[in-house]
């Protein structure tokens, strides 16, 4: 469980997050939603321990994350942040391999190699394993980065807009894979995803954290949070949540 206690974040005098106080359950997939500038990425960075909150605490499974040592933190939480694809000439296997770095610090064991291969397989990257990132499509490359975060084998995976600029099919593939990973089981991961695509949130999320202007609007199970009314208020645009062929969907009115 992630426990966020009275979290404030101020950067260069500007309040980014104010008074966030909530819990995120360990089981399932949590979507973080909200309009642009709501503080979603900043919240994720605080949870990952990359940004130290101005006030308040973040406890992940009881551990004070901002105060934890970097190596310890990296074995608990993996963050996939947004950002330009660097090192275009790494191969997929090399990139995913760096996901194991917090565990071996340069001396991979056979177990590390096995886990890298497992992450490659998990995201169907085996045929691409020895291709360079620069030769992949945007969707394939994004899958490789998600696989790197997966290879970190942390109980918690935090992903900042992993679907940005992806075609619907690629977006669905990645999201469905994450959904499966978050299902209860021996290798289940707790997953927190910043999502812009409400259709994906409606489709996959178990828990929803809604932010607006740096404040928490709601932190609740999907059925409670993702209603037409809540979403319309949150985004200040009329949004309808309904069912099509038995599946929940969200559309702009």
């Amino acid at each position: 469980m992630i426990r966020i206690e009275n979290l404030d974040l101020t950067l260069d005098g500007a309040p980014i997050l104010q008074g966030i106080d909530t819990e995120i359950p360990a089981s399932g997939l949590t979507a973080v939603i909200g309009p642009n500038g709501a503080g979603k990425s900043s919240l994720l960075h605080c949870l990952a321990g990359l940004v130290r909150p101005t006030q308040g605490r973040v406890l992940i499974d009881g551990i004070d994350i901002p105060a934890a040592k970097p190596a310890e933190r990296a074995r608990r939480v993996a963050l996939l942040s947004q950002g330009s694809p660097a090192l275009p000439r790494l191969t997929v296997a090399e990139l995913v391999g760096f996901g194991r770095w917090p565990h071996h610090q340069g001396r991979p064991s056979s177990e590390d190699h096995r886990l890298v291969q497992a992450s490659i397989d998990c995201f169907d990257l085996d045929p691409l394993a020895h291709r360079r990132l620069e030769t992949l499509s945007g969707g394939q490359r994004q899958r490789a980065f998600v696989a790197m975060a997966h290879a970190q084998t942390t109980p918690w995976m935090l992903l900042d807009e992993p679907l940005a600029a992806l075609d619907p099919r690629y977006a669905r593939d990645i999201m469905d894979r994450l959904c499966t990973l978050s299902r209860p089981g021996p290798e289940a991961r707790s997953i927190v995803v910043v999502l812009h695509d409400l259709a994906m949130a409606v489709r996959c999320a178990d828990w929803v954290v809604s932010l607006k202007d740096g404040r928490l609007v709601q932190s609740a199970p999907r059925a409670e949070a993702l209603t037409s009314r809540n979403l319309s208020d949150l985004f200040e645009a009329e949004i309808l949540v309904d069912e099509v062929q038995g599946r929940p969907v969200a559309v702009l009115a």
């Binding site: 990359l50 660097a86 499509s137």
Partner: protein
Amino acid sequence: MVRLASAVGLLGLIAASLMIGAADLKSGSVDADLLVWVSRIPRTAAALLAGAGLALAGSVVQLAVQNRLVEPGLTGTPEAAMAGLLAITLIAPGAPLMLKMLAASIAAMAGTAGFLILARHVPRQDPMLLPLVGLIYAGILGAGVTWVAWTTDLMQYLGVWQAGEFSGVLRGRYELLWLIAALAGLLYLLADRITILGLGEDRARSLGLNARQTMLAGLAIVAATVAAVVVTVGTLPFVGLVVPNIISRWRGDNLRRNLPLIAVSGGAVVLAADLIGRVIRWPYEIPAGTVFAVIGAGLFLWLLYAAPRPAGQNG
């Protein structure tokens, strides 16, 4: 295959470097043994070490700022090293070499740190922007150094530091360059960390890397390498740009895997440039730095234009 080919190529260059010079070893008019030990071997080793060091320094800088188009010559590092040398020469003209080296290293580190701070504020959309900023930054530092050297009548020193050449290398006057071999070993231990740094600060920190500490260690290695080169043989442009780029195109972006090849290639191209400089107007010499500036500029243009970037790739 790669290893065998590069080993053979390198040995060929070394043999040529030992054979070729103004004096004919077989003429009997010179003491061939003495000449080889006092001049040719040190000269060959100096070219190899300087080239290897600058190529590795280039790789580190490129990963640290996530831009393949920079090199120590475009981060103000040699100019800052010269400023340090100038300062120590003015304060204590008779200072021993190690003290001069220390002053140059510290100044080079400060100068490179200045560039890194500048780099944080340069937008990343256009990869050409950062090298241009670096060019101007190095130009400003260089102008300051020149002004001080001019007013203190030390222009002659400056000329030696600016033009990389190996004709003055003799036994007892280049050994500082062996420091580069030690630094390369240290770099090998840090190679994975520096590659991870190349993934971007957020990703590096998410992997539990102490990004600032790694950056500082890389910075110190680059500064000490460049300072050693400037102090002993003078700076050589383009080596740190061209060599890492060619190796990266060919073998990818994994520093640990490529580090030996980058070092060997850097040494080989500088030695080749020195050889060309020795034979082109025999028995006179052209500085290796000048030769490499011509070849390197051509290679750089090729890197920029010949191989188009794949679609959707912005550096």
